[in-house]
Amino acid sequence: MLEIREVYKVFNPGTVNEKVALNGLSLSLKEGDFVTVIGGNGAGKSTMLNMVAGVCPVDNGRIYIDGEDVTHLPEHKRAKYLGRVFQDPMTGTAATMQIDENLALASRRGLLRTLKPGITARERAGYKELLKVLDLGLENRLTAKVGLLSGGQRQALTLLMATLKKPKLLLLDEHTAALDPKTARKVLDLTEQIVNRDHLTTIMITHNMSDALRVGNRLIMMNNGKIVLDVSGEEKARLTTADLLEKFKISAGEELANDRILLS
């Protein structure tokens, strides 16, 4: 479904701030894989997702989605394959537009936008049903501006938008990190529910170790722009937080130093 082949990315090359973000990263995902990604600060987790999404170009290497070489495809054209949820709840939605208008934008992802109506009455009715699933009361606020919603509500809406048109690949970049624990749990539950329902191939970056272990069928750990641990299936199911810390120490030669990592 996704193949990342020997991808390199260097930020600020030739300056004192030079940073090798991705150092020959390779990763291959099968259809239906739900991969959780952990790693220290600057390990290259977000850069990896941004390279897949085409936010900025790779320096070297190739990226294939569903067999198609998308390495040089601009971000808005790759969007037809991808659903994305960002860390910042403000990023995924248009604050000055209505809830239903945001959903209507998402429902046209990957389609040619024409002079047909941007939203129809029939769509509105459908969105109402979809929003009921979130159980946040948004189904009664269809015409409210998204800027009025809380962070958790916006993130849930972004998740809905990302999966409204079934994506080939769902990219979640620490999408619960900015939320309070209760809301984070709710958004994560919702994520699992949607991913399982639609059998979505998913990459989820998280700083929560127990989430990384509990969710998904595969776990990768990154360090210095490379994958240092890749476990799946039975092996992943048996892992504990202590195992992860130990494995990180062995592979990286240092403690997993990150004040944002949650162990519990």
């Binding site: 971000e75 969007a79 991808l82 960002f86 990023t91 248009a94 000055t96 990957g110 002079l115 941007g118």
Partner: protein
């Protein structure tokens, strides 16, 4: 001058002020599209406004059909927007600088279109769509009637367009670039389309003003961006709370321009030095743009006080 005399003079000048306000209202709606919807302060308008006037007058002098001359003016304005858009998206120049470059270049272009700094059409021997001469006649060519109809029609078309898939994409582009691209919207293309529509409207407005006053001048657009912004902020300040619908918001911008010109007329009638007008306009816009910022700071300070107590 007594107060009675002042009011009498002002009422006498009101039809002209309203007509000018309506004409500039079309221009201000163009500014609203870039400034509020695309979140770009587009300075091309100072040039494209005169371009519209210049093209319209030259086409009329060449004996064109009047509506064809208007269409030519709009198309010329669309091209100026295209140039600014390409400077910004294709050449990576910051939007505000791209607009300044276009504006400067258009000064020369406008001179070349007209052949000199000023070209007039004589309403005595040329048929025109509107003229300030007819501001008190109950005919379609009365600028108050004609431009009101055109303004409403323009708002109707824009209301329809920004409800389409393309229009929603443009609104999303202005609201959130990251989100738009993630939803497969070509944000660069949308910015260019937005700038083209905006400058097309601005040139359209310039063409109306040229007919209204009977001439086009290379300097007729000087400070247009400030007048446009003034109309936007006045309209929002007065009607912002009651006009929520998009069409009504556009209408409030039109009203804002009319109010602006009535105020200007009052200032002139009161005998204040007309040379100070641009200083006054700039001050009004500066204050109105500052109000939301001050409000948010005061709200924050209030919230902090509440939090620590």
């Amino acid at each position: 001058m007594g107060i009675v005399e002042f009011i009498g003079d002002l009422i006498g000048a009101l039809p002209g002020a309203c007509a000018q306000g309506l004409i500039w209202g079309i221009m201000a709606i163009g500014v609203y599209l870039t400034f509020r919807i695309l979140d770009i302060a587009d300075l091309t308008v100072d040039g494209s406004f005169a371009t519209g006037g210049a093209v319209c007058v030259m086409c009329i002098l060449a004996g064109w059909n009047l509506w064809a001359a208007m269409l030519a003016a709009v198309l010329a304005g669309i091209v100026t927007g295209l140039v600014t858009g390409l400077l910004h998206t294709l050449m990576g120049i910051p939007a505000i600088l791209a607009g300044i470059l276009s504006q400067l270049a258009l000064y020369s272009v406008n001179l070349k279109i007209m052949g000199k700094a000023n070209q007039s059409v004589n309403v005595n021997n040329t048929d025109l769509l509107i003229s300030l001469r007819w501001v008190r006649e109950m005919e379609l060519h009365n600028p108050l009637i004609m431009v009101s109809i055109v303004l409403i029609a323009t708002i109707a078309v824009l209301y329809w367009f920004f409800g389409t898939e393309v229009g929603c994409g443009i609104r999303a582009t202005g609201a959130n670039l990251n989100m738009s691209r993630a939803q497969g919207i070509n944000t660069s293309l949308n910015k260019v389309i937005g700038l083209m529509i905006s400058n097309g409207l601005v040139a359209f407005s310039g063409a109306w003003l040229a007919q209204y006053q009977g001439f086009a001048d290379v300097n007729m657009g000087r400070g247009a961006i400030v007048i446009g912004l003034a109309a936007v902020v006045i309209g929002e300040a007065i009607f912002g709370r009651i006009f929520i619908n998009f069409a009504l918001k556009l209408l409030s911008v039109g009203f804002g321009a009319v109010i602006y010109y009535i105020v200007v007329q009052a200032v002139i009638t009161a005998g204040i030095d007309a040379n100070l007008l641009k200083l006054l306009s700039a001050s009004i816009v500066a204050v109105f743009l500052a109000v939301p910022y001050w409000k948010s700071r005061m709200a924050r300070a209030h919230a902090v006080r509440k939090a620590v107590n």
